[in-house]
């Protein structure tokens, strides 16, 4: 396979094809008749999927740096280039995104029954934006993709969302926009500070990283600007309030995209930019304490609030706040295990939360309600749906043997040496996690079957099985045999740890866990 890919020059064109195809698809969808929209979108999605699968083999796990790199001048007078690449941090985000794409189209097949052209065109535009965020290695390009995402998402929520869509879409836009605007100033400032000292004005990631020491006293401000942008996106408690609204009101495809990719952009931003650029400040004792405290608060708060939500979709939304708290904890612990764990949580959360949103969407299509109180005993009439939901819920709460467990376990293991107190608190929360989702599952599927509407609920049809089955297979596979994924992320995790290690503050409880100490 590797030889075949090399023979067709796969590594030279793959990233451009991945970025360009959805955009071309978008134009084609817009100019075609509305009835073709979903078919065309599915074709584009399947094409992206097939093409992207080659990354699995073409990606060299032993290389810690960027692969598939292309750098072409874009605005030479400003030092802006079209600079894209892929490494162990991002390969699974890209694969997750391309794998989800056909499922999104397939899952929206009947649900979207008006303005189809617009819907699928925006879905495709969103895809380019998402891939671009993970692939861009030039900060100008990164910022463009980062912001571009907002527009399709804004319209997806605002046009195809449910009852309170206008409020949710505007809130989503304003929150995320406000976070990123300060990052814009920070990016430009960094380039001018570094450029003023070195004489080279460049937005290239490598250039800025290599000269991060020149930022000096500006670093705390710059970090704060970056961190705000990313923290809103993650979302870190207390910046999370847009998330339940956006998730709750978005159409299924929008919720899934939000959960699978958009939230990961925040944690990715910390891993790639905010911490490596300003490690001394980001990992200083005060900032670490603050972030870890917020992360643990998020873990607990998300779980507790999730438990009392009457709306099934908001239950899932708040559980995201909780899961991403684990990611933040792992990132700040800064050990190879915890960073790999964070990446695993990012992937696992994408799959299981994505699946949960699909399932909630299917329930909504049947009953036109998402209130837990309206359901009951659905397992009797829809056993397949109930089974799928239960497995996914197990995966989400981190049952050993399913994918959620691996990541959370690695994060807790890797973080214990650095933040023992926080880790113990976070571990205890896994109990809450079990409670909030299982309780919801019990009330929806296993209580006595009441009400004529609930008796008429039909089970999954072929299309819905085709959407959910791949996700469940992935959950089981990742849970039982995560090695191929860990192997591909390890080099990048080690590189990240080495980049920031000189600045990790040793704690009283344990010395810094170094890369070498990792078995």
């Amino acid at each position: 396979m590797t030889a075949f890919l090399a023979s067709i020059g796969y590594d030279r064109w793959i990233l451009h094809v991945l970025l360009a195809t959805p955009l071309i698809g978008m134009v084609v969808v817009i100019v075609s008749p509305p009835a073709w929209a979903r078919v065309l979108a599915l074709i584009v999605a399947l094409f992206e999927l097939v093409v992207s699968l080659g990354l699995w083999w073409a990606f060299d796990p032993s290389v810690p740096g960027m692969q598939f790199v292309t750098k072409v001048d874009w605005l030479p007078m400003w030092g802006v280039s079209y600079y894209v690449g892929l490494d162990g941090l991002t390969i699974f985000m890209v694969l997750l995104s391309t794998c989800m794409m056909p499922l999104l189209v397939w899952g929206s097949w009947h649900q979207i029954d008006f303005k189809r052209r617009g819907f699928y065109a925006l879905l495709l535009a969103l895809k380019t934006g998402m891939l671009g965020v993970f692939l861009a290695m030039d900060l100008f390009l990164f910022y463009c993709f980062w912001e571009l995402l907002l527009i399709p998402m804004y319209f997806l929520i605002g046009i195809w969302g449910s009852s309170n869509k206008l409020y949710a879409s505007e809130k989503f836009f304003i929150y995320t926009f406000s976070g990123s605007l300060l990052m814009l100033v920070a990016i430009i400032s960094m380039v001018w500070i570094v450029g003023g000292a070195t004489g080279t004005y460049s937005f290239s990631y490598d250039h800025l990283l290599a000269h991060r020491d020149l930022l000096g006293s500006a670093a705390p401000w710059l970090f704060t600007a970056f961190a705000l942008a990313f923290a809103v996106k993650v979302p870190v408690f207390p910046f999370h309030t847009w998330l339940p609204d956006a998730h709750g009101e978005a159409p299924t495809a929008g919720s899934v995209d939000l959960a699978v990719i958009l939230l990961k952009m925040g944690t990715y931003g910390f891993l790639r930019f905010a911490i490596p650029f300003f490690p001394a400040f980001a990992l200083s004792r005060t900032v670490s304490a603050l972030v870890v405290a917020l992360a643990v608060t998020g873990i607990i708060y998300g779980a507790l609030v999730s438990m009392v939500q009457p709306d099934l979709k908001r239950v899932v939304a708040y559980s995201s706040v909780s899961h991403l708290g684990f990611v933040m904890l792992g990132i700040w612990a800064g050990t190879v295990q915890s960073v790999q764990g964070s990446i695993m949580v990012m992937i696992a959360h994408g799959i299981s939360t994505g699946a949960l949103f699909f399932l909630v969407g299917m329930l909504y299509e049947r009953r036109h309600t998402r209130l837990i109180a309206d359901f009951g005993g659905l397992a009797k009439v829809a056993p397949l749906l109930a089974t799928a939901f239960t497995i996914t819920a197990f995966s989400s709460i981190g049952l050993p043997g399913l994918n959620g467990f691996i990541g959370e376990f690695l994060v807790l293991l890797g973080s214990f040496g650095r933040f023992p107190g926080a880790t113990i608190v976070a571990t205890s929360v896994v109990v809450f996690a079990a409670a909030y989702l299982l309780w919801a599952v019990q009330r929806v599927f296993f209580n006595p079957l009441v009400g004529p509407e609930n008796e008429k609920v039909r089970d999954l049809n072929f299309r819905e099985i085709a959407v959910i089955a791949p996700l469940i297979v992935a959950m089981v596979w990742m849970g039982l045999y995560p090695q191929p994924i860990l192997r591909r992320t390890e080099a990048a995790a080690v590189r990240y740890v080495e980049t920031v290690r000189p600045h990790v503050q040793p704690t009283a409880a344990a010395p810094v866990v170094t890369a070498e100490a990792h078995p």
């Binding site: 605005l75 030479p76 007078m77 400003w78 910022y143 463009c144 993709f145 980062w146 912001e147 571009l148 907002l150 527009i151 804004y154 319209f155 605002g158 046009i159 869509k165 206008l166 879409s169 505007e170 836009f173 304003i174 926009f177 406000s178 605007l181 300060l182 814009l184 100033v185 430009i188 400032s189 001018w192 401000w221």
Partner: protein, 498 residues
């Protein structure tokens, strides 16, 4: 092209060729209009004739610009550099677009007085003189020619009370501003004995300004501050923008601003380069006040035109951030931002003009509800314009804001850029509801928006503008290079500063 001797009649004529062509042409149109001023056909004839005149002026301008026209020795009266040509080209662009957008609008509003186009041409002449002035006297002359024509244009809709109110208000406050400017010029002349920018700069040298010269500078800043509608000199703008016929509002929001900002940059950089210690804090204050007030007040507006008026105040504030820098980079950023702002604003006012119907009250944001379903093209174009005004990546406006921020950051200034982006954030609060109303809300009535029709000319203008917004939003290399080159030509006075 050999350098022009500006002291010789021939050289001066050549240097002023675009303005002269336009003046002559406007007199010609006036003559034609004296016979033909009855029907729609007459109005259209005058319109297309004027458009032709703008094209001719543009051709002579292109000849000068591409021919690399340069003065022999020091410049007298009128500058002969790329910065003037860039600003003049932008003014002509705005004029041409305004003419095209007015054709159908005037028919529809029954404003069949073809003198309208003559006034537009004369205002354009004034703007070009203002933007190209190298001497205080020409500056004042240009300002007055421009202002008086625009006063009349603002009150052109005789059937609407608000239009008359706008004209009177604009006239009174404008006269006040002109008086300040003139007094400032007199004080500067008293302090230096010069009216030429470069000579004033040389005379003042690097010493601290005397009280008289300082006051003169302050009065000139006030006078130009009125024209760019910087807070606290902005009070006239919302009423005037709201009351004037919509294409005229677009013309005022773009052409007048381009001219006034170009003049401001030129005066500050050529006449007062060493007094930056004095004017930089003032400009910084004006910028912050303008951004804050413009954006915050725009949030509360229901009328679309008023909202755009306040937003244009906010944009003047953004531009002032680059004026503050006082560098070549800053001057380039000002010119570039004016390009992005002009293109975007013209397109949005063009759409607005086509959305209005006969004798209607001003359009409220709510009136656009459901526009997308009936007129998807118009709604899409409007959305792109608003996103560009918001400074969203992928649009021209984003590149412009990026450039403005860079100009300030390059001077180690961080407060102004932060205020700028926070202002942009607030602006999302009033741009988004418009997009939301157009795309996400259902129209109120069955036959809403059926009357929204675009003439071919208006359609072409808006389409070209939107195409520019998108293409240059992704590939701005060309305009960036032109803006920077133009800024570099801004006199030797700037050479001392980066």
């Amino acid at each position: 092209m050999s350098p022009f001797d500006l002291m010789s009649p021939m050289g001066a004529t050549m240097a002023l060729l675009p303005e002269l062509v336009l003046t002559g042409w406007s007199l010609l149109v006036l003559l034609v209009v004296a016979w033909r001023h009855e029907t729609e056909q007459d109005s259209h004839l005058a319109g297309w004739l004027s458009f032709l005149g703008v094209l001719l002026a543009g051709a002579t301008l292109g000849m000068l610009w591409l021919g690399g026209a340069a003065p022999l020795g020091p410049t007298h009266m009128i500058a002969l550099d790329a910065y003037r040509f860039g600003a003049a080209a932008l003014i002509l662009l705005s004029t041409a677009a305004t003419i095209l957008l007015s054709l159908r609008y005037l028919d529809r509003q029954r404003l069949l007085a073809p003198e309208y186009y003559v006034l537009i041409l004369l205002a354009a002449v004034g703007m070009m003189l203002l933007a190209g002035a190298a001497d205080m006297i020409v500056l004042f002359l240009g300002l007055e020619v421009m202002s008086i024509s625009v006063y009349v244009l603002a009150g052109f809709d005789r059937f609407r009370r608000s239009s008359a109110e706008a004209a009177l208000k604009y006239f009174l406050i404008g006269a006040f501003a002109s008086a300040f400017l003139l007094y400032g010029i007199a004080l500067i002349f008293g302090a230096t004995g010069q009216t030429n920018f470069t000579l004033i700069g040389q005379h003042l040298g690097s010493a601290r300004l005397s009280l008289m010269a300082g006051l003169g500078l302050a009065f000139i800043l006030i006078g130009l501050g009125f024209k760019v509608s910087a807070v606290p000199f902005h009070m006239w703008a919302p009423d005037v923008y709201d009351g004037a016929p919509t294409p005229v509002t677009g013309f005022m929001a773009t052409g007048v601003k381009v001219a006034a900002f170009s003049a401001l940059v030129r005066v500050l950089l050529e006449a007062f380069p060493a007094a930056a210690y004095l004017w930089q804090p003032v400009i910084a204050f004006l910028a912050i006040a303008t951004i804050v007030v413009g954006n915050v007040v725009a949030l509360t507006q229901q009328s679309l035109k008023r909202m755009l008026a306040y937003s244009s105040i906010a944009h003047a504030g953004y531009t002032l951030v680059a004026v503050w820098a006082g560098t070549t980079l800053g001057a380039g950023a000002v010119l570039f931002y004016l390009v992005t702002y002009t293109v975007t604003t013209l397109a949005s006012f063009g759409i607005l003009a086509s959305t209005e119907h006969v004798g209607s009250r001003t359009i409220l944001v709510d009136d656009l509800e459901g526009l997308f379903t009936v007129r998807p093209g118009a709604a899409l174009a409007m959305a792109i314009c608003l996103l560009s005004l918001l400074g969203f990546p992928g649009t021209f406006g984003f590149i412009g804001k990026w450039y403005l921020i860079s100009a300030a950051v390059a001077q180690g200034q961080y407060i102004l850029p932060v205020v700028l982006v926070l202002g942009s954030l607030v602006s999302a609060g009033y741009y988004l509801p418009v997009i939301m109303a157009m795309t996400m809300k259902a129209s109120r009535t069955q036959d809403a928006h059926r009357q929204v029709t675009f003439s071919v000319a208006a359609r072409a203008t808006v389409a070209v503008a939107v195409a520019i917004i998108l293409v240059f939003g992704v590939w701005p290399t060309g305009p960036l290079a032109v803006a920077l080159d133009s800024a570099k030509s801004l006199g030797a006075a700037t050479s001392g500063r980066r």
